[in-house]
Symmetry: C2
Subunit: 418 residues, 2 copies
């Protein structure tokens, strides 16, 4: 691994991960602000701002932004998560300076022109409609709201159609001024790039960013509870979860191993017990999410209206006993999967960009691959049992969408873990 980091005078950081064997690069700006850094009345602004960044600057129209990058065969994209917003490009190696120029322009000189804003509101309202037609998206939003009720961390990233329709140009520009500051922004590049050359470009392009500012956040206060939403669907889509761990928790990798052991692959306990032995689902998997000061762990399953009565008790039992009687073979297998997964991800220029960009924001440095592998190796059955007990000590969060009648009749989830 060939990671290099340089910090400019204003606190803006440049990180590169050079891969000499490819002919392309991935380059992006990671910003440490997202949907959790929003007051209720402006929920959705981080995502609306991410969209508006592509809608024209003092130098470039929206169309010119799209055409400039695509005329060299590149492409631009962006995403907003609960703690980050990222803007990135995939380009051939010679076009890295162009990509950085465009990224710097859209992040510092966007005009948020009135007509463009009106049209982009309409686009996001369609995006909200599309998400609302996707059961998995809806049930995860309900899950998040129930885990963190009445808090920014529990609100949907897209915001509501009402908010998106109402937020003014000044609200968007003000949010950017407050939160897009040099110390919370990282220019990251992976692939065929040169660190020193990129730093020189970055000094010009991002050296003028303000040093003050950056996001404030309300603390994550996990609560839990049940939410059922009846909808005419073939399947009941359900998510059951618990209070998890923040990024820097000592048991961050313990939870990662626990999660994969429970629902990570074809040989995982949930897949074997619920799909292979009982035929109750097509999809079942566990997941983790981490934040600066909290996190979530959970399981998603989609099953039929009738099958849910058999599925739920078995799923709860597998979760409840995950810390008990862990076999050596099983533990070795999960570690092998995680380690091989890391190696395979290193083959992807885009995955390496994502890795270095997010690590800089979370840890202030990029974790060594060897360090991560060692941390995974160090997880033992005792640590998993401890982590499991910690999960189960929180009140469960349970969200279900679809034909939920039989589920509601089964009573409270919390009691099953009491």
């Amino acid at each position: 691994m060939s990671i290099q980091v340089t910090t400019l005078d204003n606190g803006f950081r440049v990180v590169t991960d050079v891969i000499d064997t490819v002919e392309t690069a991935a380059v992006g700006v990671w910003v440490g602000v997202g949907a959790r850094h929003e007051k209720k009345e402006i929920n959705g602004v981080a995502h609306l701002l991410e969209h508006m960044a592509f809608k024209g600057t003092e130098r470039r129209s929206a169309r010119a932004i799209a055409e400039e990058i695509e005329s060299v065969g590149g492409h631009l994209n962006a995403f907003t998560s609960r703690e980050n917003t990222a803007y990135f490009a995939r380009v051939l190696k010679d076009d890295v300076p162009l990509a950085v120029d465009i990224l710097a322009d859209i992040l510092q000189n966007s005009t948020f022109e009135a007509g463009e804003l009106e049209r982009e509101r309409a686009v996001i309202i369609q995006e909200i409609g599309q998400a609302s037609d996707t059961p998995e998206d809806v049930v995860f939003d309900r899950f998040q709201e129930t885990a963190y009720p009445g808090q920014p961390l529990g609100r949907p990233i897209l915001g509501s159609a009402e908010n998106v329709g109402a937020m003014s140009r000044e609200v968007i520009a003000g949010y950017m001024r407050e939160n897009y500051a040099a110390p919370t922004m990282v220019l990251a590049a992976s692939g065929r790039v040169e660190h020193d050359a990129l730093v020189t470009i970055a000094e010009d392009a991002f050296g003028g960013l303000p040093t003050n500012g950056g996001p404030n956040r309300a603390p994550a206060r996990y609560r839990g509870g049940d939410v059922f939403e009846s909808r005419e669907l073939e399947q009941v889509h359900l998510v059951l979860g618990f209070d998890g761990v923040p990024f820097k928790d000592d048991d961050y990798f313990t939870l990662s191993v626990l999660s994969n052991l429970l629902g990570g692959g074809m040989s995982s306990r949930l897949f074997q017990e619920i799909r292979e032995k009982r035929g109750l689902v097509y999809s079942i998997y566990s997941f983790t999410a981490s934040y600066a000061d909290g996190g979530l762990f959970g399981v998603y399953a989609g099953t039929g209206e009738k099958q849910v009565e058999e599925l739920l008790p078995v799923m709860c039992e597998e979760i409840a006993k995950v810390g008990a009687s862990i076999g050596e073979d099983e533990l070795a297998r999960v570690k092998a999967q995680l380690k091989a997964g890391i190696l395979m991800a290193l083959e992807s220029t885009s995955a390496r960009l994502e890795r270095i960009g997010s690590h800089m924001l979370v840890y202030g440095r990029v974790l060594d691959v060897a360090e991560v592998v060692d941390a995974i190796e160090a997880v033992d059955a005792k640590a998993i049992a401890r982590m499991a007990a910690r999960l189960m000590a929180s009140r469960p969060t349970f969200a279900a969408l679809g034909p939920v009648g039989r589920l509601e009749a089964m009573g409270s989830l919390a009691e099953r873990f009491a």
Copy 2:
């Protein structure tokens, strides 16, 4: 590129694409049979067989298959398309022999045990339920049925719950015996592999496959027409398309350029006109599908119930005029995108596996990257105009799902292209 091909005595082919700079490999068996090689009463059997291949052999239980590959950090997967079925593994470089041993075993010694079959039927019925809750999946299935009505090529890959619930062990085993023959199967590997070593392994592992057999197909007879399905959704999900081109058509790459020019990226005509200028959608894109003897071209869009009245005429107009007044800049930009996309895909071990496996089945060889780039370069405005006229000469296929009342009231799509 370092492609090598060897044909065994029984006609089974081995193809490798060595990448010396990685530590892993992707290896799989591509079989030239899929959902279009099914009679009506056994629609779904190719996909059911693909699932049953993982459910146990004479030597290995279903659980052993999952555990063996995952204990070395690898993973197994498979897919069924209309003309192909593929089984593949991602592993570290030293585990290629194990992956091939498992692939050879599940493709020649599967037992299709009765209890496993009953459970797997239930899993696929859940998969059908999940697809039915995904509007984009449903509208594409309706589109395919309407393009090829009453033909195997028009039927859903998953089949119906009735068929999946009813097909016997003998039907599945018989389908495999008839269609899985050496000359229609390819062992493909990309990444850190050695061609000669793989051939030696393959002689042992696949040398006993029968030389006779292979799938029969009914010819693709494109028809077109309209289908509307009313469902309570936020968006109308719609697909509008035309008769396209088979893989070996002289204008295969012409259609690829046309499709990207119309709806391939942020600078494409549909994205600019319908999302950027009018704010009518979040998602709009064009696509192509090719088969041995036919193909499809189309556009997907998701929009609101009210917006559909503005969207449909504009979308039709953009499609109708795609062959006219193509700018040189525009054409150069689309070619640059396609060429860069090829380069970027070459960085992915999995994408290279998919490429060589499918090329061997379609062309009997792997197309050179330079050859593909030349073919893209050769496409000019005249060829696109010719291709557009050819598309428009077919009767349109139009599928819509959601609140479709206003759409239905707008009359026949065919007349708009008359």
